[in-house]
Symmetry: C2
Subunit: 164 residues, 2 copies
């Protein structure tokens, strides 16, 4: 089973494709950080986010998608932009009829470390134990996307179904 | 010049296609309210919003799109859902490479009535003077979409360019 994890954002979207084989570890097949320049118009930035995700879905054909849920942050303008980008990401996934599951940051931390207040370092340590990573990862967004995909495996193992 | 006005929403999206001919009034070509049922999953609702808008764009081939800007409201969950839907709407427009312009509720009220605190009744009275409407309109969302499209004509007349 191949899962695409997404860490939604407006300037930066983390994406990671993981595969569960018979080995104890999940394997990282692909990861990237989709970035959109501040110089572009709002609608161009959304267009890049949607079309790049569609390309990744087409290339890696995930069986399911796991995406992080949004919470409000202090900057309301940022929150709305990220929500608009997240809508585009969900729409691109739905156009390809791939089942999608959403997880809160708390659910992700608990799934990876067993501890809801885990810090970034604790998360990284566990991710590197849980996943076979043979490529270089240059952004936190990619690690966040991997963590989200791992959470989907954890929930799947616990017989929680994906919505379709 | 044909303009598609959009009043963004999650449960209800108002859409209206107006055409400017040589007559003093703009003509309403089409209007509708895209509705999504609460019984559907979040991603299905976004899928309906995007695919219905794409169908309307394909059928009516607008030269430009005018969409209302979002403001935060008291219900943060609602605001995020509407923002996600708005992202899908902007993405669908951008996929078809149609120039889009965004207007605040204040800009729309001023453009239609000359008064930033105009109420719903004042808006309706002016819309019915400004636009030739031969069909029955059943929702406020459609009137809001018409008002947004009218604002684009007003700005266009004032030589404000559409972004592309």
């Amino acid at each position: 089973m191949r899962i695409l994890g997404i860490d939604p954002g407006y300037e930066r979207v983390g994406v990671a494709v993981l595969e569960k084989k018979n080995a104890p570890q999940e394997v990282l097949i692909f990861s990237d950080c989709i970035q959109t320049s501040k110089k572009l118009s709002h609608e161009k930035r959304l267009l890049i986010i949607g079309t790049k995700l569609s390309e990744i879905i087409k290339k890696y054909k995930p069986d399911a998608v796991a995406i992080e849920k949004l919470f409000f942050n202090v900057n309301q303008k940022t929150a709305l932009n990220v929500a608009e980008a997240r809508g585009v990401l969900l729409y691109s996934v739905s156009l390809d009829q791939i089942p999608v599951q959403e997880y809160t940051p708390l659910q992700i931390k608990v799934a990876i470390t067993g501890y809801g207040r885990a810090d970034k370092k604790q998360m990284l340590t566990m991710i590197e134990k849980l996943v076979e990573i043979k490529k270089e990862i240059s952004t936190d967004d990619e690690y966040d996307a991997i963590a989200c995909a791992l959470t989907a495996y954890a929930y799947k193992g616990a017989n929680k179904k994906f919505s379709t």
